[in-house]
Subunit: 389 residues, 2 copies
């Protein structure tokens, strides 16, 4: 915002005042959206051919990818968003995001984990916009407090411009064991980023006792995998920790906007290290004191399994429902129902039940066992039931 | 069996020794099979258009009706079986029982309860075979000890020939609350019926405490609704207790094998009393000391609900299964699964779960709540979801 208009002067009509959301724009900021991962814990709704990020999992009418877009576009504009996805999903991503620039859709020939995906995007953006600050935000998470998200990213971008790698640290509201944690260190003093702290270290997913200790102790945040940095800073960190991955991606980025792209992709991509960005960049950089954190209460969820999703859904007659509750007949039952096939689902006399009804597969389980749904998908793979994966 | 052949004599080859099952024939005995009742507690497998008796509920490859036929035909021959069913199901019954005489299929214009159905058949049989002893056996029960059944019916027919109404009394193996009980009185002394007793009284379905008391006390049998009597004895009892019903059925029976049948059915049927045979005949006859019981251990079940059916099914990976277990993926779960739609059913981490998967409706409940499935069907009726009934 500019200074308040003085009394008696005529305030010119600016674009920002006509389109107030334009005032959220962060100059020079680009968003990277890695859109990968089937989300096997949300089987049978989520499949290899219908991955989690393409699904409307909250009943909002928008897929998680589209909600991610909606959240980012006020910060970057449509031309400031780059989506990295598998070639198999590129057409679906383009179909869901009609405003996405053709140049902003990077299709991977095969999955090479998050460091390759995000740093490829960072390298391509860095060649197109040498001064860019990039932020990476998963395509399949839910953030219900968009205003808090916008404010936190603005702070993170301000810190990143100074040369740090910056992560958003989610305020824990329970001792979760399915997320990694961030141990916060001293407060930083960066203009425009009053809440930023140094990251002391990243810690792996804890057991329940340890998680409880973290909450009691304070100073811990959930690691939601959101990173903001200048492209040159990010790539320098990668070069230090994974020089061959860095070299491959640099070669690819140089060819990306040329006729050589496919040839170089074909030659380079299959040999790239498969490594998560947390291991390749975040942890070594944190150990070297080069990572900052902006704490944030975003009402964030990674929608990791049916139990996690349940908490995001409206409740009808005792059941949380994703879909049309006209298809439900519930008596003395509590849990989650997903009437996806259009058949009637009658549930009688069960506490904590998960019923996911799709045209070719039905899941009946409990929220308590939600993490084990992955093992069912593994079993189907072993049984060569590929049509159900 | 006749006397053992004396040493040195030549035993003539009889039909019975060539076809041993022929020896089960009870001369003058006719079976009545009332095939009605949708079996709403077995929804969504059982429907108005696919009633319980037409279904193969035990995975044997034969419907309950066909199994009833298979059990009776050694006693009566094909020409000795009369099935009473609704007009809507007459074609399906004839299709399932190709050996059933056309004259042995009585179609009711509308349901008028069991007294009308069974006594219509008895009256029609009585006019065709004035000396007949009839036995009435539900089309939708399971009896796994056919030999014990055959022996018990033979005893019952012997007692019935003397002028009693005879019921089979099932040996209880648990304090069931879903069946009525028979209180046995003194032993009778009828040739060919060594185990027959007088019936002291019929008692309504008891509560659990009372049922426990009955078992501890002894002398009680389950009332499985199987009655054997001479047609004249049965109809005389009806005439005493329900004279107008008796008169209507007599008029109908007189017209049955004439060109007047449809006209008389149309005129008489809608006005007949709707009453169960227990109230119209068995209880008043017992109070008058005219009912006998042949106790029997038949491994009988009325397959009244999913809990009852579960006990009859084979177990696969912890679940009782009715259908093809190729459609199941079970982990740490126990209960009943019916994969009727052909979709994969995955069940994870539930004890006592009932999953019945049909093409247009899915039921998820527990055996403990099996009796309440009827309330779901009632709710669907209230919601005008007739296509699912």
């Amino acid at each position: 915002m500019g200074p308040a208009p003085k009394a008696g002067t005529v305030t010119p009509v600016t674009e920002a005042s006509v389109h107030p959301s334009k005032s959220l724009r962060i100059p020079g900021f680009h968003a990277i959206v890695p859109a990968g991962g089937a989300g096997t814990r949300l089987w049978p709704l989520s499949r290899q051919t219908r991955p989690k990020f393409l699904l409307d999992l909250t009943g909002s009418g928008r897929s998680l990818l589209q909600q991610t877009w909606d959240r980012l576009v006020p910060l970057t504009g449509p031309e400031g968003i780059t989506v990295v996805t598998g070639q198999a999903h590129a057409a679906a991503v383009a179909g869901q995001l009609p405003e996405l620039d053709r140049a902003g859709l990077l299709a991977e020939p095969s999955p090479r984990d998050s460091a390759a995906a995000i740093c490829l995007a960072a390298a391509v953006i860095g060649r197109r916009h040498p001064e860019a600050v990039v932020g990476s935000f998963a395509a399949d998470h839910v953030i219900r407090d968009a205003a808090a998200f916008h404010a936190a990213v603005a702070e993170a971008a301000a810190v990143a411009a100074e040369g740090d790698i910056v992560t958003l640290g989610i305020q824990p509201d329970h001792p979760a064991t399915s997320f990694g944690y961030i141990r916060m260190g001293e407060r930083l003093h960066v203009a425009g980023a009053p809440s930023a702290h140094r990251v002391e270290r990243f810690v792996e997913k804890p057991d329940a006792d340890t998680a409880g200790k973290y909450l009691a102790e304070g100073g811990y945040r959930w690691n939601a995998g959101m990173f903001v940095a200048r492209t040159d800073v990010l790539l320098a960190e990668l070069e230090r920790s994974r020089p061959s991955l860095h070299a491959g991606l640099a070669e690819l980025a140089a060819a990306w906007d040329t006729a050589e792209r496919d040839a170089v992709l074909h030659a380079v991509w299959p040999g790239l290290d498969k490594v998560a960005i947390d291991y390749a960049i975040a942890e070594p950089a944190a150990d070297a004191g080069r990572v900052a954190v902006v704490p944030a209460a975003l009402d964030w969820d990674d929608v990791g399994d049916w139990a996690s999703l349940a908490a995001l859904l409206p409740s009808t007659t005792g059941m949380r429902v994703l879909g049309d509750d006209q298809h439900l007949l519930i008596r003395d039952a509590e849990g989650v129902a997903v009437p996806e096939s259009g058949r009637l689902i009658a549930v009688l006399g069960l506490e904590d039940v998960v019923v996911v009804d799709t045209p070719d597969a039905l899941l009946v389980t409990t929220r308590r066992r939600a993490q084990d749904v992955k093992s069912l998908v593994d079993a189907l793979r072993t049984l060569n039931r590929d049509e159900l994966l």
